[in-house]
Symmetry: C2
Subunit: 330 residues, 2 copies
DNA sequence: TTTAGCACTCTTCTTTTTTGAATGCTAAAA
DNA sequence: TTTTAGCATTCAAAAAAGAAGAGTGCTAAA
C-alpha cells in the first residue's frame, strides 16, 4: 500500500512531531529525503489521503493522525536499545533483594517515570497464585486480636479481629490450630469459602465459643483482594504542550484520581498493549502503554501514560525489559 | 483599632469573596449595612489603609489581603456547626471498628476532601508509642523468611529476611525465641539498638550460626520508621478559579508530587494551625489548615489544602471534630 | 516524475476600540 | 461630624481590525 518513500516520510514526520510538537512542513523534510518540498507535498497529500496524516488547518504542516501513529507503532517503529545509564538505574532496583514488595514497587514506578518523562502507574493485585502458608494470631487486649496470614510467596496480610464476647485463650488457640490445619495450602482468594464450607461445619466440635470466633475470622478473612495503585510522575504528562489549557489539565488530573478509570487500565489482553488517543479513556491526546507482570505470585500491570506524541520505541523497550527482568525472578 | 462597622464590613467582604471569588464592590454591601455606597467606600479605604483589604486594580472592588484573612481567622470567624449529614458521614467511618488502619485513613481522607471540596492529606507515622508485643517468623523457602512484628497497639510490620548460609530450623527457632524474650516491650524505634546492644553480645551462647541470623534480623529490623502519605481530592483545589492558568495548576500538581514539600507539612507546632498564602510553601493563593492526631499510638497529621479563599470556619470545625473523635478512642 | 513559482489561506501577534463596573473626590445634606 | 449624591476618571475585558509569516495546493515547465 505505501511505497518505501512514503513509509520513510511517515516515519520522519512522526518522529519529528514527537520531538517538536509542531506540525511538520514539507520544507523541513526535503533535505533528509533529497528532493524538493513540492515532491514531499505530493507524498504528504497521498498519506493524508490514506488517513495517516492530518492538517491542523488548511495551510498548516502535517501531523500524524491516530491511524498514522498506529501504522508507525505496528509497522515502522524499531525497538530502541536502553542506554547503559538507564540499564544501570534499573539494575539497582532489581538487584536489591532486601526491599519489601511495596518499596520495590514505589521505587520502580518512580524510576520508570523519571526515565521516560511519562506518568507511570503500577496496579498490583494479591494474586490467586498465593497459597496460605501460616496463620498466626496475636492478642492485643481482651476483645482485639491481630490475625496474620502469610502465603508461600511471602505475601503478608493482617486484619484486626474484634470479638464481642469473652472468649478463653484456649478457645482462640483451638480455633487458630483448626484453621491452620484446614487452611494451609488454600489459595488466598478461596480462604473465605474454605472457612464457610469446611471449617464452619466442624468448628463446634473443637471450640466452645465457636460462633463468636468463627464470625470474627470470617469477617476478617472474607476478602483478601487488596488492590494497590502506585503512581509517579503525574506532572510529566501535564508539562506537555498538548496539555496547556486548564480544562485539559484538570480533566487529566481528575482522571488520575478516578479509581475506576485507573483500575480499568488493567483490563484486556496480555503482552505489551498500546492504546492511542481515543482508544484510551483519558483524552484524545493521550497514549497508554501497558503490560502485565508477575512478581513472586503478585500479579500486576505496569502502565505508562503520556501524550500521543510519546517516544513509543523507548517506552515499549523499557516495559519489555522490566517485565522480562521481573518475571524471571523466582 | 477597628470599629464595629469596619469589623462587620471586613467579615462581609471576606465571606462574599470566599463565595464568589470576585472583588467585592461598595454597592454590593450597602444594602446589608444600611448605608450608601459612598459610606462603604470610605470605610473600605480605611480598611485598605490598615492593610486588611486590597484592590486588584485602581478602580476595582476590594479583596481581602493576607493580613485581612489573618484578621478574619483570628478575630472574626465563628466556629460553624457541622451539618447532620456531614456528621453522619463521619460517624460511618469512626464507628466501623473492623477497618484496618490503612483503610480507615484512606476512607477518612476521601470523605473529608469530598465534604470540604478541598484537597486532604493524611501523613502518618509509625509512632514511638508502639511497643513490641510479639515477633513471629514464617519460613518461605531455604533462604527466605518472613519476620513479623506486632505491637501492643495492633500495628503490624513485616520484612523479608534473606539468609545466605544454610541455617538449621532449630537455630532459627532459638534466635526468634531469644529475640522475643529480649525485645518484647521495646519501643518500635528502639528495636535496632536493642538488637545491637543486648542481643548481639549474647546470641552466640544460644545459636550456632548466629552471625548470619543476627545480620539478617538486624538488616530487617533496623528501621521501622515508615511514613505514609495519603491524599484525596487533588482536583478540588485545581478547580478553583485562582488556579486557572496552566502554570499555576502545573506548579501545584508538582508540589503535590514533591515528597519533601508534602512531608514538611507535618513540621511545627500542635493544635490546629492555619497557614495563609505566603506562609505556605505552595502558592500565595493557597491556605493550609492542619492538625496532629494520635490514633491508637499512630501519630499523624491531617491537613486540608485549598485556596486562600476557603471556608475557614467549616474547615477548622471539621478538623477539630475529627481529632477530638479520633483521639478519644482507646 | 519532479520541481519552481505564485496565489491563497489561516494562525499568531499586536494594536485599537468599545463598554461597563468601580473608584475617589468634592460639595451639599443630615 | 458623618453621610450621601454626583461626576470625572481609571482600568479590565471583550471585540474588532490589522500586519506578518509560514505553509499549502496547483499549474506549467523541466
Amino acid at each position: 500500500m505505501l511505497n518505501g518513500r512514503q513509509v520513510e516520510l511517515l516515519k520522519l514526520i512522526v518522529e519529528d512531531y514527537i520531538k517538536t510538537a509542531k506540525p511538520v512542513s514539507s520544507k523541513a523534510i526535503c533535505d533528509t529525503l533529497n528532493c524538493s518540498s513540492a515532491t514531499i507535498r505530493n507524498e504528504m497529500a497521498a498519506l493524508e489521503e490514506y488517513g495517516l496524516l492530518e492538517k491542523t488547518h488548511i495551510s498548516s504542516g502535517r501531523i500524524p493522525s491516530e491511524k498514522g501513529y498506529r501504522y508507525y507503532v505496528d509497522n515502522i517503529m524499531q525497538p530502541k536499545e536502553l542506554t547503559g545509564e538507564d540499564m544501570l538505574k534499573l539494575q539497582t532496583i532489581f538487584q536489591n533483594s532486601s526491599l519489601v514488595l511495596d518499596d520495590y514497587i514505589t521505587k520502580s514506578v518512580e524510576i520508570v517515570s523519571e526515565m521516560t518523562n511519562l506518568t507511570a502507574v503500577i496496579l498490583g493485585k494479591s494474586s490467586k497464585e498465593n497459597f496460605v502458608s501460616k496463620v498466626e494470631v496475636v492478642p492485643i487486649n481482651e476483645h482485639n486480636l491481630i490475625a496474620i496470614v502469610v502465603t508461600d510467596k511471602g505475601h503478608v496480610e493482617h486484619r484486626n479481629l474484634t470479638i464481642e464476647e469473652d472468649v478463653s485463650a484456649n478457645d482462640i488457640k483451638q480455633t487458630v490450630d483448626l484453621i491452620n490445619k484446614m487452611i494451609v495450602g488454600t489459595q488466598l482468594d478461596e480462604v473465605g469459602s474454605v472457612l464457610e464450607y469446611k471449617i464452619k461445619p466442624i468448628i463446634a466440635n473443637y471450640v466452645k465459643q465457636h460462633e463468636a470466633l468463627y464470625n470474627a475470622f470470617y469477617n476478617a478473612f472474607n476478602d483478601f483482594t487488596k488492590e494497590s495503585v502506585v503512581m509517579a510522575g503525574r506532572k510529566n504528562i501535564l508539562m506537555q504542550p498538548e496539555f496547556s489549557t486548564p480544562e485539559k489539565i484538570r480533566d487529566i488530573v481528575s482522571k488520575f484520581e478516578d479509581k475506576q478509570v485507573i483500575n480499568r487500565i488493567t483490563e484486556e489482553d496480555d503482552g505489551v498493549n498500546i492504546y492511542i488517543g481515543s482508544e484510551t479513556e483519558f483524552d484524545d491526546d493521550v497514549t497508554i502503554i501497558k503490560t502485565k507482570y508477575n512478581l513472586n505470585g503478585e500479579e500486576g500491570t505496569i502502565a505508562l501514560i503520556g501524550p500521543k506524541r510519546m517516544e513509543y520505541d523507548k517506552a515499549v523497550t523499557l516495559l519489555n525489559y522490566i517485565t522480562s527482568n521481573i518475571d524471571k525472578e523466582d
